[in-house]
C-alpha cells in the first residue's frame, strides 16, 4: 500500500512539474478517443435502430392450397420449437381476407367480385429478443421453406440484409479506425513517457544506486502513463457526449423533421467507463514499451 502511495505521489509530482507535456499528451489522446467515441456512438445507434426494427419482425409461412392437417401440424411443431419463437399464430383464409379488406379500406369493394378467396393460409411467428437474431431466423426460414405444404416464406429479408450489412460495415470500420488510432495513441504515450524517463535519468541512476528494483523505478512511470491514458480517454468521451448533446438539441428543429422518427441514444455509461479504462490500459502499454527499452540499456 505504501509502495502504491509512493508510485502515485511520484507520478503526480512529475505530472504537476511538467504540465505542458502532460497537457499535450492528454489533448492528443482526447482527440484519439473522440474519434473512437464517434464510431462507438454510430455503432451503438445503428445497433439500437436494428434492434427496434427487429422487434417488429414477423416470419410469415404461406401454405399451399392443398396443405394437409398433418403437414400443418409438422410445420407448427417446427416453428414452435425455434428457441426464440414466443408467438405462433395460424391465419386461415377468412382472417387473411378480412385483413386484406381492412388494408384496402375504401377500395375493399374490389374483392366483392371474387368468386373464391385466393389468399393462402399462413403461420405467423413473432420472436423474443433472444430469437430475433437474423441468422437464426434465416436458418428457421430455410428449414420450413423446404417442408411439404409450404408455398413461400417471408420476413422482409431484402431490407434486413441490407441494414445488417450496413451495420457490419460500420462495426468493421469502427474496429479498423479504432485500432489504428489506438496504436497511434500508444505511440504518443510511449514517447511522452520516454521524454519523462530522460528528464528523470539522473533520478533513475540514483534510485538504482541505492538498490531500487526495476519495479520500484518503473512503478511511477506506469502510473503516469495510466493516468494520462485514462484522463485522455475520459475527456475524449466527454467531448463526444457534449457534441452529441449539442447536435441532439438541434435535432428537434424543423430541418431535421424527416429523421425525428429515429431517436438516438448516447453510449451506455458502463461502455463509456470501459473505454476510459481502456485508455488507462493504453497508457500502461505505452509506458511498458518505452521503459522496457530504456531500463534494458541503463
Amino acid at each position: 500500500m505504501s509502495q502504491l502511495y509512493r508510485f502515485l505521489r511520484s507520478a503526480g509530482r512529475h505530472l504537476v512539474r511538467s504540465p505542458g507535456v502532460a497537457a499535450v499528451t492528454v489533448g492528443t489522446i482526447t482527440m484519439v478517443f473522440f474519434i473512437i467515441g464517434v464510431f462507438l456512438l454510430l455503432a451503438h445507434n445503428v445497433e439500437l435502430v436494428g434492434a427496434r426494427l427487429a422487434a417488429g419482425l414477423r416470419l410469415s409461412v404461406y401454405l399451399e392450397p392443398g396443405c394437409t392437417p398433418q403437414q400443418k401440424q409438422a410445420l407448427r411443431t417446427a416453428l414452435a420449437s425455434h428457441p426464440g419463437a414466443f408467438e405462433l399464430r395460424f391465419v386461415d383464409q377468412t382472417e387473411a381476407a378480412s385483413r386484406f379488406r381492412a388494408l384496402l379500406g375504401g377500395q375493399a369493394y374490389l374483392l366483392d367480385g371474387l368468386e373464391e378467396n385466393p389468399l393462402p393460409e399462413s403461420f405467423e411467428v413473432g420472436f423474443d429478443s433472444q430469437g430475433r437474431r437474423l441468422e437464426n431466423i434465416q436458418v428457421l426460414a430455410d428449414t420450413v421453406a423446404g417442408m411439404p405444404g409450404v408455398e413461400e416464406v417471408q420476413y422482409g429479408q431484402a431490407w434486413l440484409d441490407r441494414f445488417f450489412e450496413f451495420s457490419r460495415i460500420v462495426r468493421g470500420l469502427g474496429w479498423l479506425v479504432g485500432g489504428v488510432v489506438f496504436l497511434v495513441a500508444v505511440l504518443i504515450v510511449s514517447n511522452t513517457i520516454r521524454l519523462s524517463v530522460y528528464a528523470r535519468k539522473e533520478e533513475i541512476s540514483i534510485l538504482k544506486l541505492v538498490g531500487a528494483t526495476n519495479g520500484f523505478i518503473k512503478g511511477p512511470f506506469y502510473m503516469e502513463g495510466m493516468a494520462l491514458g485514462f484522463a485522455g480517454a475520459l475527456f475524449g468521451m466527454l467531448c463526444t457526449y457534449l457534441i452529441f448533446t449539442t447536435l441532439l438539441s438541434r435535432w428537434d428543429m424543423p430541418g431535421w423533421l424527416g429523421f425525428r422518427m429515429i431517436s438516438l441514444d448516447f453510449i451506455p455509461v458502463a461502455t463509456t467507463l470501459q473505454v476510459s479504462l481502456a485508455g488507462g490500459v493504453l497508457g500502461l502499454i505505452g509506458s511498458v514499451m518505452s521503459l522496457g527499452k530504456y531500463l534494458k540499456k541503463a
Binding site: 505504501s2 509502495q3 502511495y5 509512493r6 512539474r17 539522473e202 533520478e203 541512476s205 540514483i206 534510485l207 538504482k208 544506486l209 541505492v210 538498490g211 531500487a212 528494483t213 526495476n214 520500484f216
Partner: protein
Amino acid sequence: MIQMYHVNLSYGADSPALVDVSLRIEKAGFVFLTGPSGAGKTSLLRLMYLAERCDSGQVLLFGQNVARIKQREIFRYRRRIGVVFQDFKLLNLRTVFENVAVAVEVLGKPRREVAKRTRRILRLVGLEHKIHAGVLKLSGGEQQRVAIARAIVNDPPVVIADEPTGNLDPKLGREIYGLLTDIHARGATVVVATHDMSWVGQTQKRVIHLENGRILSGGMR
C-alpha cells in the same frame, strides 16, 4: 569483504582504466585510495558497487564472485553498499528528508519506519533542523552530509566515498572525514578515494596508491 585478483578494465582498446589490479580489503577496514586524477580510483570504486564489470580477473564482494551476479540481482548488493560522490548526486528538486528517505523506501518499508530511520540518521549527521529544506538551499558541506546520510541510513556493511571532499573547503572536508570515521567506528568497511593527502597523512589509515591504472602500493595486506 572486497577482493580483486588480476583485474583489468578498459574503456576501449587504447584506454586501459585498470591494469592487473589485485587487492584485499578486510571487514570493518578503513582504506584510502589515492593517486592523481585519471589513476583509476573511480573505476576501481565502480567495480566495487557494481556499476562496472571487469574485462578479466576476479572481483569478490561479500565472498561472492561478481561475475556470477545476474543483472537483475544487483539491487540486492547495492542495498549493502552506501555510496557517496564528489558531486553529491542528490535529487535536486526534493527536500533533505525525501533524499534520504528514498534509500529506505526502496526496501519497501512502511512509511512510519521510513520516517523513523530518516530522522534518526539526519540527527546523526546534524541536519535534523533542515529536514524539510530543499537540498539546493543547503551549503556544499550540508549537501554532502545529506548524501552521507542517504548512504548510511540502512546501516550498510560497506560505505564507498569517491572524492567526498573534492567540492568542499578544508573545514567542511574535515567535518566529512569526521563523519566517515564515525561510520567506520560503528563497524562499517569504509573505502575513500581521494587526492587530499593532508587528511590521509593525519589519519594513519591504510592507503592503496594507484597510478596509470596500476596499484603501486598497499593492495594486498
